[in-house]
Amino acid sequence: MARAVTMQRKLAFTALAWMVAFVLFFPILWTILTSFKPEAQAIASPPVIIPSWTFENYIEVQARSDYFRHFFNSVWISVGSTLIALLIAIPAAWAMAFTPTPKTKDVLMWMLSTKMMPAVGVLVPMYLLFRDFGLLDTVWGLTMVLTLINLPIVIWMLYTYFREIPVDILEAARMDGAVLWKELVYVLVPMAVPGIASTLLLNIILAWNEAFWTINLTASKAAPLTAFISSFSSPQGLFWAKLSAASTLAIAPILVLGWLSQKQLVRGLTFGAVK
């Protein structure tokens, strides 16, 4: 009896959970389906659910707007800024995790506090500085800004991972006469690779989706996908299939990365406050 009730309960919760999940995922699913429909089918009434699987929208989007230039701008900016941030952050996080001083906590909190500054608070000077230094609409300029924006998160994530590496191992290496750089390269880095990898993934996602600086500091040449997609907002024509194709291409790679990193996501996004 008890088992039957549990089974019924499980089935009921399963049905409910699938329904909620479907509703939440529906906008994404619908976009992907629409991207494979001819334009007429995309706005047909009643709605056509199964597309006729045409690829013309994808071809058209590339032909009309040089889609892949924007795609590679996004790749360059998000991967580039993340790698530079990691390069700067790894030594800092290592120092704070393994040579903590009474001030370490204050330094960490201060670093996090720089993340609290609203972007809009410094939009004006950043725009003018970019203009004066010829950085407007350049991939390098954006990479620089995104590096700075994400640096505190990168340091924090690495710090929370590094802190969990047992210090004894480092001491053993020291006993064996390992010098500091060897300590770093042969002992710490291999143990830290999983932490570094998930930091890398989360930051690529954050940088890929960053939609304030990327829109305001680019025009066309260096525009990543965020700025490119935003340009679809003005003309009111019905071109949903093409919009869907462009959107699908913009979200697909990061959706996959997101699924891969979802286990580490909570920790990274809450600065280690919820694990």
Partner: protein, 290 residues
Amino acid sequence: MATQHSRALARFMMAPSVVLLLIWMIVPLALTLWFSFQNYNLLNPGMQSFAGLFNYEYFLTDPAFIQSITNTLLLVGGVLLITVIGGILLALLLDQPIFGQSIIRILVISPFFIMPPVAALIWKNMLMHPGYGIFARIAEFFGQTPVDWFAQVPLFSIILIVAWQWLPFATLILLTALQSLSEEQKEAAEMDGANALNRFIYIILPHLARAITVVILIQTIFLLGIFAEVLVTTNGGPGYNSTNLAFLVYRTALLSFDVGGASAGGVIAVILANIVAIFLMRAVGKNLDA
């Protein structure tokens, strides 16, 4: 000796991060402050002069400012309400034994990875479009007049879109917190005859309190700066009906070229965010001691 040596090295290793963040924190903000006391319009480049508090007076007495503050608070409050309550319910549901849990998890978390302009455009066109959107189709099916979302309830429409993006975040964090609640505690309460509601109020909710605080604070930081969703859906309109503070500053700076006015708005946004930040830092800081 060795410690002194390693401390010097530690400082050396931290230097690049510290210096960069110091510059990033001070230079732009100092410039914003400086500009906020200047008469400076990009259309008259030669005419820069000291303005005193004029920009603040101008910005604070602009009717659009009051409305943008109200809209900012409504946007933050509305999204928090939906995502926190929805997130708790959803986390409780996903914490039950169900079939296909990992696939459901992936489906539920997905909206969080959608870049803001795409999320906004999908909702604007394919869901909320008054003629061809799915919502209009559903309304027609039930014989109702479709809602013209962005004309009739622009701010609410944006709240819905942003809530869709952030509900997964709240759910995921609350679910993680929920899963760290010991089964023994729940079972003990059940044995003592506590019903589901009491178990929720006296055991689960207090356990979630910390995670809820974190969700509220982190989301607030991001929600105060919502920009792309407004830009691609309503462009702040109709009128100023869906203009938030971030969008108003953008408008003043890059559409009216009023450097001074926009900077004053920026300073106000910084002050607003700092009030929230103080609370967040305390919550996160506590964890460092633990």
